[in-house]
């Protein structure tokens, strides 16, 4: 039976589970039959579990998505692939340990897999800088993606970061440029890209390796333009109101699917990925196999076109003056040759979410 992870909202469940465990230990080897009581308590625990995990609030999901014990990028890489040969460095400055990547084999085919790496404890986190990449991390990622393009293998990126490292070094060495370049290059990479948000998707730092043909997201992952704490600080000058901000920001997988930002949701075991890492790693692998198989049928041109259209169509606005046929004509008319190119499909959207 899964043990709850020790987050605030799980307290009552953790206590109950502990009590059951104590009774079990106590009765063990003694001439006592408390099976019935244990059964009852376990039923109660299950009820409690469902009550909590079936009704997670966005803020609770944020906490699960940041959980220290959650499987991280390297856990997935080692769990999903037959072999993994890590590659290091941006060939210019350093090897950023917050970004890992290399070639791995999925069903005997090479895949380029890369992602942001968080640690499970402070010691690990010091090595990987808490999963906050430097510009060199993004440059390494791009180098590996270009390698994949050259040798025609698909790219899988695993996203789990609070964001790019917000510090002097990053600014000095152009973290904004590094992310921007990745966005531009990933839009037209010749090979399929599947992105999986496995934990925290923190703004530009996540998007810097997050442009792809398919964006998948674990059911308890979060993906946001600003941390709920940061948003609360701006809105109400109070970081403690993060829970409220997380409701507003729409950062859970179902919300993001509704907004058209992600394509598929990968279910997690009850209570979150850390309750049963093996199951969730298998699950991610199955989803990857499915999406990579679909994408492998596309030509390079199709990949480019579909990827462009995917991002081109994201946006919510209202037409004040709609594009007119006349405007369209003017747009496509080529006076020099007198030839008219094919009319472009109207791209304007005026969806209403709420």
């Amino acid at each position: 039976m899964a043990q709850a992870g020790g987050l605030d909202f799980e307290k009552s469940l953790v206590e109950l589970e502990k009590k059951i465990e104590e009774i079990k230990n106590f009765t063990d080897g003694r001439q006592m039959d408390m099976q019935e009581e244990i059964q009852q308590l376990e039923e109660k625990a299950q009820e409690l579990r469902e009550g909590i995990y079936d009704n997670l609030t966005p803020w609770q999901i944020v906490q699960i998505s940041r959980h220290l014990k959650r499987p991280h990028t390297l856990d997935y890489i080692h769990g999903m692939f037959a072999d993994f040969m890590e590659m290091h460095g941006d060939r210019a400055f350093i090897d950023d340990r917050a970004m890992v990547g290399g070639v791995a084999w999925l069903d005997d085919k090479p895949v380029m897999v890369l992602g942001t790496q968080k640690g499970k404890d402070t010691k690990e986190n010091i090595v990987c800088n808490f999963g906050l990449p430097l510009p060199e991390g993004y440059r390494k990622a791009l180098r590996l993606m270009k390698f994949a393009e050259k040798f025609n293998m698909p790219v899988v990126t695993l996203v789990d970061t609070a964001g790019a490292y917000p510090g002097l070094e990053g600014e000095e060495r152009g973290v904004a440029e590094a992310i921007a370049r990745n966005l531009r290059e990933m839009a037209y990479l010749d090979v399929p890209i599947v992105v999986v948000i496995i934990g925290e998707g923190g703004s530009g730092g996540a998007l810097g390796i997050g442009v792809g043909d398919r964006v998948l997201m674990l059911s308890n992952a979060s993906y946001t333009v600003i941390t709920p704490e940061g948003c609360a600080a701006i809105l109400w000058k109070d970081r403690a109101q993060a829970a409220r901000a997380s409701e507003i920001l729409k950062i859970t997988a179902p919300d993001l699917k509704r907004l058209g930002v992600i394509d598929d949701i990968i279910p997690e075991p009850e209570g979150g990925a850390h309750h049963d890492p093996q199951v969730v790693i298998e699950q991610v692998k199955t989803f990857l196999q499915k999406h990579l198989a679909e994408l492998s049928k596309k030509t390079v041109n199709q990949l480019h076109e579909d990827r462009y259209r995917k991002y081109r169509s994201i946006g919510f606005f209202t037409d004040v003056i709609p594009q007119t046929a006349e405007d369209e004509e003017r747009l496509v008319e080529k006076p020099a040759t007198g030839k008219k190119t094919v009319k472009k499909k109207k791209t304007s959207e005026s969806n209403d979410v709420q």
Partner: protein, 282 residues
């Protein structure tokens, strides 16, 4: 003798303040850089720079259009006119939009269209810090993308002037973040079409705008002493507790660190752009 006694009270007649010809509030400005008091007309004449110390004041999109485009004219955007929706139903967003629209006389934080600069037909977009910090939401992302797409069709170069200290617009949540991917993808097409893109960075430019189209210019030009950043200095100080050097994240700092091509005074900007645009394929 009462005659020589000083009166206890004296009434001094003072002309009413509002009737006296004084200095109206909007006549002079104290330069925040050199502290000189300067006539506003002189600042305006110098394209909103300080004639004493060359401090560059912030400028509206319309003001920039007037000094960059030939005759200050352009055909606004490709087609249609769009305005922000409120996809997240974000508290206070609608009010903020209404207020910004009124103040700036803009539909959103951007002006975009086709003009000529030094006689060269160019796609020009200008973001405006006065409209919610020049932040990028759906409208700004769409306008930039439409402009780039149209410029590809018309085979003309693109100039984008950024004054977007706000970065990605929080009020549109993840949708704003995706505008970074959208505009960068469009620039990928522009690059493939071998059309030139010049990015002009002005004070201030940050966050999601810096980490997308602003840093992707074939050439990157900045105005003097502009704040150009990814994470804001306050964010860095708070989260990392690092002491930041003087001039950190200013244009000169970026030039030293190899992030931009050149720093150009606003009064020379048009001339510089005109010259650079001649390199662009006809």
């Amino acid at each position: 003798m009462d005659w020589f006694r000083k009166p206890k009270y004296m009434t001094v007649r003072v002309a009413k303040k509002d009737k006296k010809p004084g200095i109206p509030d909007n006549l002079v400005t104290r330069c925040p850089s050199c502290s000189e008091i300067i006539f506003n007309t002189e600042i305006e004449k110098a394209d909103r720079t300080c004639p004493k110390c060359n401090h560059h004041f912030q400028m509206s999109a319309q003001g920039r259009l007037a000094i960059l485009a030939d005759n200050g004219e352009f055909i606004e955007q490709t087609s249609g006119k769009i305005t922000a929706a409120d996809p997240l139903n974000f508290p206070g967003y609608k009010e903020k939009l209404a207020k910004s629209k009124k103040r700036t006389n803009l539909e959103d934080a951007i002006l975009a269209g086709i003009c000529t600069i030094g006689g060269i037909k160019t796609g020009l977009a200008i973001t405006d810090f006065g409209f919610m910090g020049g932040s990028m939401g759906s409208v700004l992302g769409e306008e930039v993308t439409r402009l780039i797409e149209r410029s590809i069709e018309e085979k003309i170069p693109v100039v984008i002037v950024s004054a977007s200290g706000g970065g990605a617009r929080m009020q549109e949540g993840i949708i704003s973040l995706m505008q970074m991917a959208k505009t960068s993808a469009a620039l990928s097409r522009l690059a493939a079409a071998k059309q030139m893109y010049i990015s002009v960075l002005t004070d201030p430019t940050g966050g999601g705008v810096t980490a997308s189209f602003a840093m992707l210019g074939d050439l990157i030009v900045a105005e003097p002493k502009a704040l150009i950043m990814f994470a804001g200095p306050r964010v860095i100080e708070q989260t990392i507790r690092q002491h930041l050097p003087k001039r950190f994240q200013r244009s000169e700092f970026l030039l030293e660190h190899g992030m931009i091509d050149m720093i150009v005074n606003r009064q020379n900007l048009k001339q510089t752009l005109s010259r650079l645009l001649t390199i662009s394929p006809k």
